[in-house]
Every structure is written in C-alpha cells, then in structure tokens.
Amino acid sequence: MHIPDGYLSPSTCATLYVAAIAGWYAALKRLKRLLLSRVVPLISVFAAFAFVIMMFNLPLPGGTTGHAVGVTIAAIVLGPSGAILAISIALAIQALFFGDGGITTLGANCFNMAIVGSLVAYATYRLIAAGASIASKRRVTAAAVAGYLAVNAAALVAGAELGIQPLLFRDAAGTPLYSPYPFGVALPVMMIGHLTFAGLAEAVISAGLVAYLQVADRNLLQGSSGVPVGTEVPLATPVQANSQRRLWMAVALLMLLTPFGILAAGTAWSEWSPSEFARPGSPAQIGTGANVLRGTIPSGMQRLANLWTAPFPGYAPSFVKSAGFGYLLSAMFGVGFLLALSLLAQGYLERRRATRYSR
C-alpha cells in the first residue's frame, strides 16, 4: 500500500499533503492539551513499535504470510490522534530512512494509512465493542473487524487515488503520465490483495494483541474502551478492601439507627394487624374503606393472621422491656442471620466449584 514516488501526479501529491497536514495539525493540537513531555516519548516509541510490527511476517490461514500496518492497535491504545501521529512518524522513517514509500507521496501514504486507517479502526472498534467489559471476547472480535476494515478502507482510498490518475493526467497522444490504470482496474487489483492477505494480517495481529493485553496489561485497553476508569478493577486491590470496609460501616450505622423507627406514629402503611381495623379512625379503616363497614375485619385476614407467629413480634423479644433496645437487638439478629446464610451459601458454592475443577 506504500505508494512510491512517480505513481501520483504532483497536484495529487500536493492535495494529499494538504489533507495530511490538516490531520497532523488537528491530532497534534488535540494531544498538546495533554502533557507534551509525556506525549513525545509515547508517540515516538509507539511509532518505533509500529515500524517493527510492519516488518513482522505474519502466518495467515492457508499457509501464506502477510504484513500488518499496526494502525489498529495504535488507535485502540493511543486513540485516533495518537495513532495518526505514530503511524505517520513510522511511515516518514520508512520513506526517509529506508526508502519504502516515496517522498512526494508521503502525504498520500500518511493520509491513507495513518489518517483514514486510524479513524476507521477507532470508529469500528468503539462501535462493535460498545458496552463490552475490558475482558470481553467481543473486544477481540471488534479489533479483528476494525483491523480488517481499516486496512481495506486505506487500500480503497489508495486505489481511488491511483485510479484517478489516467483520467486526469494524459499527454496529447493519450498516454497516461502516471499510474496507467483506471478505476475499473486499479480498485479491484488493489482490493483483492487487501481483502485477502493484508486485511487478514492486520485482523490477526490486532485481535491477537487485544487478547494478549486483556490478560497481560488491561490498562492499555482502558483509554478507548468507553468504560469509565475505576469501574473495572481486574484484581483484588486496596480499593476493593476500602469499599468493603465502607459497606460494613454503613450496615453498622443502619443497625444503630433502627430504634428511630419507633418515633413514627401509627403503623406503616399496609402493615396493619387485624386489631387496627377495629380501631375507629385508624389508617387501616380509612385506607381500605373498612370504616364504611363499621369496624369489620376482612375475613381472609382474620383467618390467616394466626398462621405464623414471629419469634420477635413487634421487633422485640418478649423478655425485652425497652422498645429501642429491642429494635437494636432485632437488627443485629437479622443482619447476623443473613450473614450466616450468605456464608453458608458461599461455602457450598466454593466446594461445588472445587469439586468440578478437580475432576
């Protein structure tokens, strides 16, 4: 996809240099909002990494090999602005130092691979991985699809740039002056190679790298994940310990506050006992229209009221005389009972899991 010097007319090169410069300017301006001293080494080292990745011979299905661009993983880890700069720097080093890709066509190559590639890769990855957790398999699929589409989008634009040459630039005898193939030839030829090998190579390396980072270094996937920082804590951390401590303190506070319930007048709505219906003007009579029935207790309630007698009726055991202390005791008993139940369930589930893995 690296277009060498001589394939594109000077006016095409100039136009694409202008487009690339606009992209570089916007990306640099966006990144300058961050700490420049941190951005320079990060982009530089990532550009060096992308350069080396471009040299990897990737084994593809079918026994052949291909080269990736590295634009997708750059977009996922650095975001589109960082990727535009990192891939452009890598392409500039390739062109200026290793002679891979032309000098006059550097703008075009950067526009195709760095700008179009980064934007398509980032948009596709965010779209497919939207709402997925960092460790989700969907992120691996998203990276593969993003890589495949990014490389093919870049190839499509490059094919269009080459295809436009014979239409616009011919001499008096009709001889094409630059790339000689029209759209009908340039586009299919360009796309066949990228739809099969180059796109696949980018998909393989992007998916492989995201799967690796999910295990080895999840922080690098956080930036483009759309998942707010701090909502996913991969391993047991002091943050987890702190949140547990806060939970226990909140439970203890609520237990201490339970006696406040007795300050409220009357009975809580719809928690009436049969005797409430007999009391004239009680909320039970007003709320249910029982006052119209002159103190009649609903027959179903009358029948079922004595079916179960609570151990602590009215939130206080019979031997406790103080209502406030009774509330507190009931709260402690209730919380303790629920904790014991939860620990028993946890122990049972862990034993079951251990048995399953030992088989």
């Binding site: 010097d5 990060l42 990897f56 880890v77 000689p180 270094d217």
Partner: protein
C-alpha cells in the same frame, strides 16, 4: 516465500534493515560530492530533483535525470552495484510487474499483435509503462542517494532549519533511535522462541506465537516510553525542544544549490 519459514523471513528482514542502516552510516562518512555539501543543500537539491522527475512529462527528460542521478552516485562514491541491487532491481521487479499489463490494456495505436490479434501492444501502453518505470527508478535513486550520503541526524537538522515543527523532529529522532532497539528486542525474542521449537508449529499456534511476541514488544515499548519520559523529566525537560543548528553555508554549498536548482528547473521546463 518459504512456507513455515516466517520466523526466518522476519529475522532476515530485521538483519537487512540493520545492515542497511550500518551501510548508510559507512557511506555517509566517505569523502564524495554529496557528502561535501551542506546537508540542507542535499535535502533541498535532491528533493527538487525528485519533484522535477515527477513533474516531467517526457521520457527523454526523465532518462536524462537518471543519468544525472548515476553521475552524482559515482562522484559521491556510492557503488553502482549497491544501487543496482538495492534500488534498480527491486523497483524493476515491483513496478515492472505493475506496469506490464498497461502495455496491453492501454487504449491507443496498435504496434504489435499476438495470439491471433487477441493480444496487442499499443504505443501509448508501451510509453506509459516505460515512463512509469523510468520515473520511479529515477525518483527512488535520488531518495536513496540522499539517505546513503546523509546521516539521519543531519537530515533532521536540515528539516528543522526548514521550520518543520520541533515536536515532529523530536519524534522522528526518538523513533529512529528506538526502532533499532525494538528490532533487536524482537529479533532476540524470535531467536529465543525458535531455539526452543522442535518440528513445525501448526498455523494457529504460529499466529498466537507472533501475536504474543508483538504483545510483549508492545508492553516493553510502553515501559520504555515511561522510562524515556522519566529520564526527560530528570533532565528538566518542560516541553521546549532545542536542536543545535550549527550548519554553515560556504561558497561550494551555494554552487551546489545553484546546480541542483538549475538542473531541476531545466528538467521541468523541457519536460513540460
């Protein structure tokens, strides 16, 4: 490409890149025509000639510029064999394959027919294929001469004097430096894995292995960037990049610049 030899191919690629870089350093130290000129003159002059090649519409003018490129190479003590192996044959193989079908499919005046008239060579097809190959060969020769005869640090200094943003120069310099470190790292990882591999790995395992190597390289790169950042902080870097520009233009450099610009202008004028 040898099947199953992807590790070997990658290692060969790494070695080739390193040997090219070493060769460039060695040629840049020789005493020759281009080496004697100010790096800014080399960058401007050779870029002007690449532009002239791109602007020229006549094959004869492009071929004349090719002769100029070969002459500069000879006087700059760049071996013709090196250029032939590194540039001309590679470009001929790549662009030749791309240009060949154009001889037959470009519409125009028929000059030869084959296979009972179903295959024909057109004058316009032949002209466009030859022009494309000649143009790419000449432009890449000029670019290669610039790279071979100018140390990378001088290219960057020259770019800085043309007001390329400091951030871009700093990133280019830093990337160039760490490319070699990462190439060496990746090379060691592949060699290490290869030395532990017996027989031929199945396809999915080969892909996983390559992705894991790339992943480790990525983690190392990020760690490296943090180390570089801390080193910059420790030296008091606050975002202001300064590059020493100690180039000094002499009469000889002005003569060189004038010659480059004259050659480029004549080529554009006659090749229009």
């Amino acid at each position: 490409m040898k099947r199953g030899g992807f590790v070997e191919s990658t290692l060969i690629g790494f070695t080739r890149a390193l040997s090219r870089a070493l060769m460039s350093e060695e040629i840049a130290r020789r005493r020759g025509l281009l080496q004697s000129l100010d790096p800014r003159v080399r960058v401007v002059g050779l870029f002007a000639l690449v532009l002239a090649v791109t602007l020229s519409r006549r094959l004869t003018v492009v071929l004349a510029l090719f002769v100029v490129a070969v002459t500069i190479a000879v006087f700059s003590r760049v071996g013709i064999g090196t250029l032939a192996k590194r540039v001309w044959l590679v470009v001929l193989a790549f662009t030749g394959v791309i240009a060949l079908p154009a001889i037959f499919i470009t519409p125009g005046t028929s000059i030869a027919t084959f296979a009972g008239g179903s295959l024909r060579i057109t004058a316009q097809g032949l002209a466009t294929a030859t022009l494309l190959i000649a143009r790419v060969e000449t432009a890449v020769t000029f670019t290669t001469l610039l790279m071979l005869c100018t140390p990378w640090s001088h290219v960057l200094k020259a770019l800085r004097s043309f007001h390329v943003p400091q951030e871009a120069i700093a990133m280019l310099a830093m990337t160039h430096r760490y490319v070699f470190l990462l190439v060496e790292n990746a090379s060691q990882m592949f060699e290490s894995r290869q030395s532990r591999t017996v027989g031929r790995l199945p396809g999915p395992e080969r892909r996983r292995m390559t992705a894991r190597t790339a992943g480790v390289l990525l983690s190392k790169s990020i760690d490296l960037s943090s180390d570089v950042y801390m080193a910059m902080q420790s030296r008091g870097f606050r975002g202001d990049i300064r590059i020493l520009s100690d180039f000094d233009m002499r009469v000889w450099d002005y003569v060189g610049l004038f010659a480059f610009l004259c050659a480029g202008s004549i080529a554009v004028w006659t090749g229009r």
